[in-house]
Every structure is written in structure tokens, then in C-alpha cells.
């Protein structure tokens, strides 16, 4: 999929673990893992908002569009 999820990059920048993010955002570890691996089909605005609040970032920092080659 041309949409790439850079959640792991943001987590590394903020020095935060996935477990910590899961607790702060209120999303299960399995769902965050699906999102991190780029297997999610869609993301709710409310989820994106919660992640951006916790990681203090913009949606564009998490989601990136890359052209398929």
C-alpha cells in the first residue's frame, strides 16, 4: 500500500515504547501492532488525534504517501 505508517519512527524519536503508547492512547497492543506493521485498512480520526496528542506530532509525521514503483 502506498500509505506508510511511521509510528515506530515517532516512537523512537519520543523514546516511548508501544506498551506505553497503548496505555496512554487507550488502544490495545494488538491494534497498535497492526497499525505499526502497516496492516491496518483504515484509521479513525479519533485514533489519529489521540496518537498525535500523546506523541505531540502532526498526522503527517505518522502517515506518509509513497508512490508505488
Amino acid at each position: 500500500m502506498p500509505i506508510v505508517v511511521n509510528l515506530d519512527v515517532m516512537l523512537a524519536r519520543r523514546k516511548m515504547s508501544l506498551t506505553e503508547l497503548s496505555g496512554k492512547v487507550g488502544i490495545t497492543m494488538s491494534n497498535l501492532s497492526i497499525l505499526k506493521k502497516g496492516k491496518a485498512k483504515a484509521i479513525r480520526f479519533s485514533t489519529l488525534q489521540a496518537i498525535c496528542e500523546v506523541l505531540d506530532c502532526q498526522p503527517a509525521d505518522i502517515l506518509e504517501y509513497r508512490t508505488e514503483e
Binding site: I27, L35, A40, A42
Partner: protein
């Protein structure tokens, strides 16, 4: 500790699985037996007394219908009748054609049983509402229609072949009888299955998307 997923109606699914696996086995054995038997008949010119061939017929004249506690007897006529004949011997060419159509029809039926078993297997594991099952359901509908068409074709081929070769007192054999032949109940059942499978597929796709929406 690994959480176990509760599947409702598991016993019923198990029971259905046993029934369908048994049906699959019996049908498979029947097809193999029929194919071997047909080949033996074909090669040895043996008697075909165990093979029933469908024919259309019409009774000549009128019969009497005795109605108890009624004033008098009523008359009846026999139209649009579909029956089966057994013969000591039939020509090889016809036997080969009839057997191929018959066996092909039952192979499609066997495929339907196989796909049903796979759907039930998935349901037993708690994965019933998935796109794969919808596609299996679609194929059950398609193979069911193929079985229906071959079954109807078999009747037409047999009846038209025998119509001018059979002689029986007070019975006229017909090459084709529309009202005796037509019977679209199962066809509509299979067409309805195709519609259901499409709705199932769209629903399963929506569920998959919903499951993967974070």
C-alpha cells in the same frame, strides 16, 4: 494463558460436518462404483438391468378413479408422466453418453459437498464470516446449477433416444414433454444461493475492513 474463543453451536456444526462428510464419502463411492460399472458394461456387453433410464410417457385412453364413499367412480387420464425403464441391453454409444452425463452431474454434486465441508470446517474454527466462505458459497451455487442442467439434459437425452424404440401396451412414449420435464425449484434455490453469496461476500469484506480499522 491463551484465551479460548467460545464458538456458539459448535456441537451442531460438528453434527453437520459428520453428516456432510458421510454424504461426501457415500457420493464419492457411488460415483466410482457407477463409473466402474458403466465401463464394465461398455467393455463386456453385459446386461444393463441395474441402470434406470428416464422416459416420458402418456397413457392411452382413460382409467377409473374409485373414490370411497362417493356416488360414482371418476375417470382419469395420464399425462406428463416421467418414469424409469430398465433394459437387458442398450447400445454402447447411448450407454457411454448417458453415463458420462450422469457421472459428470454427480461430480458437480460431490464438489458441492466438498465446499460445504470446507465452510463448516472454517466455522468450527470460528472463521465463518470470511470472504473465502462467500466465494465457496458462490461455487456451490454454480456447481449446483451445473448439476441441475446435466440432470435435465440426461432426462432429455434418454427420453428422446428411447421414445421411438419402446413398445408397451396402452402407453405412448414421448421424446419430450415440457410439463413432465420442467421443475425449476432447485434451480431457483441455487440462483438464490448465488444472490446470498454475493451479499455474504460484501458483508464479509465490510467486516474485514471494520476489523482492520484502528
Amino acid at each position: 494463558m491463551e484465551a479460548t474463543k467460545k464458538i456458539y453451536g459448535e456441537t451442531f456444526i460438528e453434527l453437520l460436518l459428520v453428516i456432510f462428510r458421510l454424504s461426501f464419502f457415500i457420493t464419492a463411492v457411488g460415483i466410482i462404483f457407477w463409473a466402474i460399472y458403466s465401463m464394465v458394461l461398455f467393455l463386456t456387453d453385459g446386461p444393463t438391468v441395474h441402470q434406470a433410464f428416464p422416459v416420458f410417457f402418456r397413457g392411452q385412453g382413460e382409467g377409473i378413479l374409485n373414490v370411497p364413499n362417493d356416488i360414482g367412480a371418476a375417470k382419469f387420464r395420464m399425462y406428463h408422466a416421467l418414469g424409469y425403464i430398465v433394459s437387458d441391453s442398450v447400445p454402447k454409444g447411448f450407454l457411454a453418453l448417458f453415463s458420462v452425463i450422469h457421472v459428470s452431474g454427480y461430480i458437480f454434486w460431490l464438489l458441492c459437498f466438498g465446499l460445504t465441508i470446507r465452510i463448516l470446517d472454517a466455522a468450527r474454527l470460528g472463521r465463518f464470516f470470511i470472504v473465502e466462505n462467500a466465494i465457496r458459497l458462490r461455487y456451490i451455487g454454480l456447481w449446483g446449477i451445473a448439476y441441475f442442467v446435466l440432470n435435465k439434459l440426461m432426462v432429455v437425452v434418454s427420453a428422446s433416444y428411447f421414445s421411438d424404440k419402446l413398445a408397451f401396451s396402452k402407453v405412448n412414449f414421448l421424446s419430450f414433454d415440457f410439463f413432465g420435464w420442467i421443475g425449476l425449484n432447485s434451480l431457483f434455490g441455487f440462483l438464490f444461493l448465488l444472490v446470498i453469496s454475493e451479499a455474504f461476500r460484501i458483508g464479509a469484506q465490510l467486516k474485514e475492513e471494520s476489523d482492520l480499522t484502528i
